[in-house]
C-alpha cells in the first residue's frame, strides 16, 4: 500500500542472464515455484540480484535506523501498536460490522469475500456494471494476493498498476519480490530495457538516469489517470468508528487513483480494521518510519464513503478473508495478522538480503511471509500434504531475531517460526521415520541423561581418527556434507570438559553426586 522511490541501484557492467529474474504469473500468488532451499540456491547464483538487494536493503536499513532512533518513545509506540492489534483480533467481528455500518451510512457499499475467487468476482461485476474495460490501480498487497489483475484480464478487463515499481513488475510480466519495493530485484539498466520494450510510449532515446525513467512513467501513467473511470485500491487501515479508509504512499499516483475516477473499489483484508480514528495516530507514526524510513509519508489519503461533488461518487469496500479467519483461530499464529505491511523485517533479514523475495514463492516474502504464507495456505502441519513447497518456509530463517527487533507491532516472528516448525514435525509423526526424526530422537535420548551424554562424548572422540593429523574434518557424508561443503569441523576433543573437571577438580575417591573442588 505504501510505496517509496528508494533510488535505483547503480548500473553494473555485468548484466544478468536474460530473463533470469522473471517469474511468470503463477496460478496461486501465495504458492508458486520450488521449495525454499531449491529456489534460494538458484537465486544465490544471480550476482546482479545479490548486488541489487544488498544495495537497496542496506540503504533502507540505514534510513529506518536513523528516523527510528530520533523518536524518544518508539518502544512505547510499538507497545501501543501491538496492543491495538491484539484488541482488534479479540473483537474482529464486531469491529468489521461497525465498519460496515459506518461505510454504508456514508454512502459506500460493503461486500464480503470469503476467498480470492469471490473477491475477484465482486470487483469484476462492479467494473462490468460501469461498462468499462480498463481500471487503474493503487499499489495493493491484497489484490496481489488474490491475483486480481490476472482474473480481470481473463475477462477482458485491463488493470494498470500506477505505482512506479508495480508498473515495472507488471510491464515485465513478473512477480513482486518485496512488499514495499516490488521491483527491488531490478536495477535501472533493466528498467530502461523493460520500459523501451514493453511500455509502448517510452521515448526511443530513453536513458537509465532515474529522473528520465520516472518522467517516462509519469507521462505514460498520466494518460491512464485522465481516462480511467474505475480505480481499484487496497487499504492500510479501515477505521471502524468512522468508516474511514486510509492509503499511505510516496508518489501521489495513489492519490490520483483515489480522487479522479468516478468509481473506487477498495479491497481490504479484514485484519486491517482499527477501532477508532485516534488509533491512526499510532500507526501513522510507526508505519512510515518502519517502511520507507521517512518521518511522515508524503501522501496520506483518507476518505469516508462518498462526498457529493468531491472525488469518486461511487465507493465499494470489499472485505477479504482468504484464510484470515483460520489464522485468527490459531492462538500462536494469529499474531501474524497484526502485520501492517511495512516490510522492515524484509530489509533487516540476512536471509532475504541474500536470496530476494522470489525464493519465498509468495507475494508475501521475507520473515513475515515465512509465517503468514504457510498459514494462509494451510501449508503448515501437513494439512496440504508433504510436498507443499510452503511447508519449507518456516525453516527459511536462522532465528537471528532481527525481524522481531524492528517489527513496529512487535510480532514475535522467531517464536512463531519455531511453533510452525513444531507443527510440521508433529504432522510427520506416525508415518515412516525420516532421517531427521530418527536423528532427533536419538539425540534426545543421549542428551537427556548425563551418563549417556558422557559416553557419547567419549565416542565422539573417535572423530579424531577422521580428522587425522590436521585436526580438522573437511568431508563428511550427507546430511553433514551440507556443513563440510563450505566449512571444516574441528576434531572432537581428546578430553571432554567433564573429564577434565573430574581430573582437575574432584578429589580422588570423592563419592557420587554433585562434584566440587
Amino acid at each position: 500500500m505504501s510505496a517509496t522511490f528508494l533510488g535505483l541501484p547503480r548500473r553494473r557492467t555485468a548484466t544478468a542472464p536474460d530473463g533470469a529474474r522473471d517469474v511468470p504469473h503463477p496460478d496461486e500468488p501465495l504458492r508458486w515455484g520450488d521449495d525454499f532451499p531449491t529456489a534460494a540456491r538458484r537465486a544465490l547464483q544471480d550476482t546482479q540480484l545479490r548486488r541489487n538487494l544488498a544495495h537497496a536493503t542496506s540503504t533502507i536499513r540505514a534510513k529506518r535506523a536513523a528516523v527510528v532512533g530520533e523518536v524518544p518513545d518508539w518502544e512505547a509506540l510499538r507497545d501501543a501498536g501491538s496492543a491495538i492489534k491484539t484488541d482488534v483480533m479479540a473483537r474482529l467481528p464486531e469491529l468489521l460490522e461497525e465498519l460496515e455500518r459506518n461505510v454504508t451510512a456514508r454512502g459506500g457499499v460493503v461486500h464480503w469475500a470469503r476467498d480470492a475467487a469471490e473477491a475477484n468476482r465482486i470487483v469484476l461485476d462492479i467494473v462490468r456494471a460501469k461498462g468499462v474495460d480498463e481500471v487503474v490501480k493503487v499499489k495493493s498487497m491484497a489484490t496481489q494476493e488474490i491475483g486480481l489483475n490476472e482474473a480481470l484480464a481473463e475477462e477482458g478487463v485491463a488493470a494498470y498498476e500506477t505505482d512506479l515499481a508495480e508498473l515495472i513488475v507488471q510491464l515485465a510480466d513478473d512477480m513482486p519480490s518485496h512488499i514495499l519495493v516490488p521491483a527491488i530485484h531490478r536495477n535501472r539498466a533493466e528498467i530502461r530495457e523493460i520500459f523501451l520494450e514493453r511500455m509502448g510510449d517510452a521515448p526511443p532515446d530513453l536513458s537509465d538516469v532515474p529522473r528520465e525513467l520516472a518522467m517516462a512513467a509519469r507521462a505514460h501513467l498520466r494518460r491512464k489517470f485522465l481516462s480511467a473511470k474505475v480505480a481499484v485500491s487496497g487499504a492500510n487501515f479501515g477505521v471502524a468508528d468512522t468508516g474511514t479508509l486510509t492509503v499511505v504512499e510516496s508518489e501521489g499516483n495513489g492519490r490520483m487513483c483515489l480522487t479522479l475516477p468516478e468509481t473506487l473499489v477498495t479491497v481490504m483484508g479484514i485484519e486491517k480494521v482499527v477501532p477508532s480514528y485516534t488509533d491512526l495516530e499510532v500507526f501513522l507514526q510507526l508505519l512510515p518510519r518502519s517502511s520507507t524510513g521517512e518521518r511522515m509519508n508524503p501522501y496520506t489519503s483518507l476518505w469516508t464513503g462518498v462526498t457529493p461533488g468531491d472525488g469518486p461518487q461511487e465507493f465499494h469496500l470489499v472485505l477479504l478473508d482468504n484464510g484470515r479467519t483460520d489464522v485468527l483461530a490459531d492462538e500462536v499464529g494469529r499474531a501474524a495478522l497484526h502485520c501492517i505491511r511495512c516490510s522492515a523485517c524484509l530489509n533487516v533479514c540476512p536471509v532475504y538480503e541474500r536470496v530476494g523475495g522470489h525464493a519465498y514463492g509468495s507475494v508475501y516474502p521475507g520473515p513475515i511471509g515465512a509465517i503468514l504464507t504457510p498459514q494462509l495456505t494451510k501449508s503448515s502441519g501437513g494439512l496440504s500434504g508433504h510436498h507443499d513447497p510452503n511447508a519449507s518456509l518456516p525453516y527459511a530463517s536462522t532465528l537471528c531475531g532481527a525481524c522481531y527487533e524492528v517489527c513496529p507491532v512487535k510480532i514475535d516472528i522467531p517464536s512463531i517460526l519455531v511453533e510452525l516448525r513444531a507443527r510440521e514435525v508433529d504432522a510427520d509423526r506416525g508415518g515412516l521415520p525420516t532421517g531427521w526424526g530418527a536423528a532427533m530422537k536419538a539425540a534426545s535420548f543421549v542428551m537427556s541423561d548425563a551418563r549417556r551424554f558422557a559416553l557419547a562424548g567419549k565416542a565422539a572422540g573417535l572423530g579424531r581418527v577422521v580428522a587425522g593429523k590436521s585436526g580438522r574434518i573437511s568431508t563428511l557424508p550427507p546430511p553433514a556434507s551440507g556443513w563440510t561443503r563450505s566449512r571444516d569441523l574441528p576434531a572432537p576433543t581428546a578430553q571432554t570438559f567433564r573429564d577434565w573437571w573430574r581430573t582437575e577438580h574432584v578429589a580422588p575417591g570423592a563419592g557420587e553426586g554433585e562434584e566440587d573442588r
Binding site: 532451499p37 534460494a40 544465490l44 545479490r50 540476512p350 536471509v351 541474500r354 518456516p394 525453516y395 527459511a396 530463517s397 536462522t398 532465528l399 537471528c400 531475531g401 532481527a402 522481531y404 517464536s415 510452525l420 516448525r421 513444531a422 514435525v425 508433529d426 531427521w436 526424526g437 532427533m440 530422537k441 539425540a443 534426545s444 535420548f445 542428551m447 537427556s448 541423561d449 548425563a450 551424554f453 557419547a456 565422539a460 585436526g471 580438522r472 551440507g482 561443503r485 563450505s486 566449512r487 571444516d488 569441523l489 574441528p490 572432537p492 576433543t493 581428546a494 578430553q495 571432554t496 570438559f497 567433564r498 577434565w500 573437571w501 577438580h505 557420587e512 554433585e514 562434584e515 566440587d516
Partner: protein
C-alpha cells in the same frame, strides 16, 4: 559466590576450552565453581528444529540438574553461551507448558531467572569489567544474534574486552549481521548459510584481526569452520578464553605460543 556452571553440550565435547576458561576465570576472581553432575544439554537444538516433544526430556534433565539453585545450593548459574542462555530463558518454560507439564515449566522459569550468560554474570551480578586479563593480540568481536537480541547483553562483552591489558580490539564491520549458522539451518539451507558466512568472513578478514571472539562456541564453530576452510589465518576463541588469560598464566592455551596444547585439546 557459589556459581554453578552449565558447560553446554557442544562445548563439553568439542570446545572444552570455553567452560574450562569460564571455571578458571571465576575461580581467579575468588568464586566457588560447581559443575552439577547431571547436566547434559539445554534442548535448544531440538526446539529450534521443531522437535518439541523430543526436547521435553532434555529440558527436564537440565532443569532437574540445576534445580538445587532454588534451594540455595548455588547463588547463580553461569552459561558460556548466549544462545543456550536464551533458550533456557525464553524456550524451556514454553516447551514444558506445550507438553502440559505446567509444574516443570514453572520450575524451569525459576531456574532460568537465576541463570546468566557469562558477560551478564560478570558485569551485572559480580559487578566487574576489568577481570585482570592480559591478551596482547589484535582481536575482533562478533556479537552473536541470541546474546544481542534475545538477551540484550549490549556492550557488556565489549566492556570486558576493552579492559583487557594489551589487547588491540578492532571493530567488526557489519557486526550485528547473523553469521548464517542458525543450528540446523546450516544443513537445511546450506547454500544460504554459506552466503551469509562468506560475508561475515570478508568482514572478519577486513579487520586484520588475528583472533575472532564471541560468546557462543556454536557460532564460532561456524565462522571458524569457514575461516579454517579458506585457510584465513584467523583463530577463533571464546570470550572466556581471552578473559582467563593473564600476564602470568595462559591457562587454556589461548595464546599462540602454546599452540600444541590447544590442538591436542589436552589439559592445561
Amino acid at each position: 559466590m557459589r556459581i554453578a556452571l552449565a558447560a553446554t553440550c557442544i562445548a563439553d565435547v568439542m570446545f572444552p576450552q570455553a567452560p574450562r576458561a569460564t571455571a578458571l576465570l571465576l575461580e581467579r576472581l575468588g568464586h566457588e565453581v560447581h559443575v552439577p553432575d547431571g547436566q547434559a544439554c539445554c534442548g535448544q537444538m531440538h526446539v529450534n528444529t521443531g522437535y518439541l516433544d523430543e526436547a521435553v526430556p532434555v529440558v527436564r534433565n537440565h532443569v532437574e540438574a540445576f534445580a538445587p539453585v532454588l534451594d540455595g545450593e548455588w547463588d547463580a548459574i553461569v552459561v558460556p553461551s548466549g544462545s543456550c542462555t536464551g533458550s533456557i530463558r525464553h524456550q524451556q518454560g514454553m516447551v514444558c507448558r506445550r507438553a502440559g507439564l505446567d509444574a516443570l515449566g514453572a520450575t524451569a522459569d525459576a531456574v532460568a531467572a537465576r541463570t546468566y550468560e557469562l558477560s551478564e554474570l560478570l558485569v551485572d551480578v559480580l559487578g566487574v569489567t576489568d577481570v585482570g586479563a592480559y591478551f596482547p593480540h589484535r582481536v575482533t568481536y562478533h556479537p552473536t544474534c541470541h546474546s544481542l537480541r534475545m538477551l540484550h547483553v549490549g556492550d557488556r562483552p565489549l566492556r570486558l574486552l576493552r579492559a583487557v591489558e594489551g589487547i588491540d580490539l578492532v571493530e567488526l564491520p557489519g557486526a550485528e549481521s547473523c553469521c548464517g549458522f542458525g543450528g540446523t539451518f546450516a544443513l537445511k539451507n546450506a547454500e544460504t548459510s554459506t552466503a551469509m558466512l562468506a560475508d561475515k568472513m570478508t568482514h572478519v578478514k577486513s579487520t586484520g584481526a588475528e583472533v575472532l571472539t564471541a560468546g557462543d562456541s556454536s557460532c564460532l564453530m561456524h565462522i571458524g569452520g569457514g575461516l579454517s576452510r579458506i585457510r584465513a589465518g584467523v583463530r577463533t576463541l571464546h570470550l572466556a578464553e581471552i578473559l582467563a588469560s593473564t600476564r602470568d598464566a595462559d591457562p587454556v592455551g589461548a595464546r599462540p605460543t602454546t599452540h600444541d596444547a590447544r590442538t591436542t585439546g589436552g589439559p592445561r
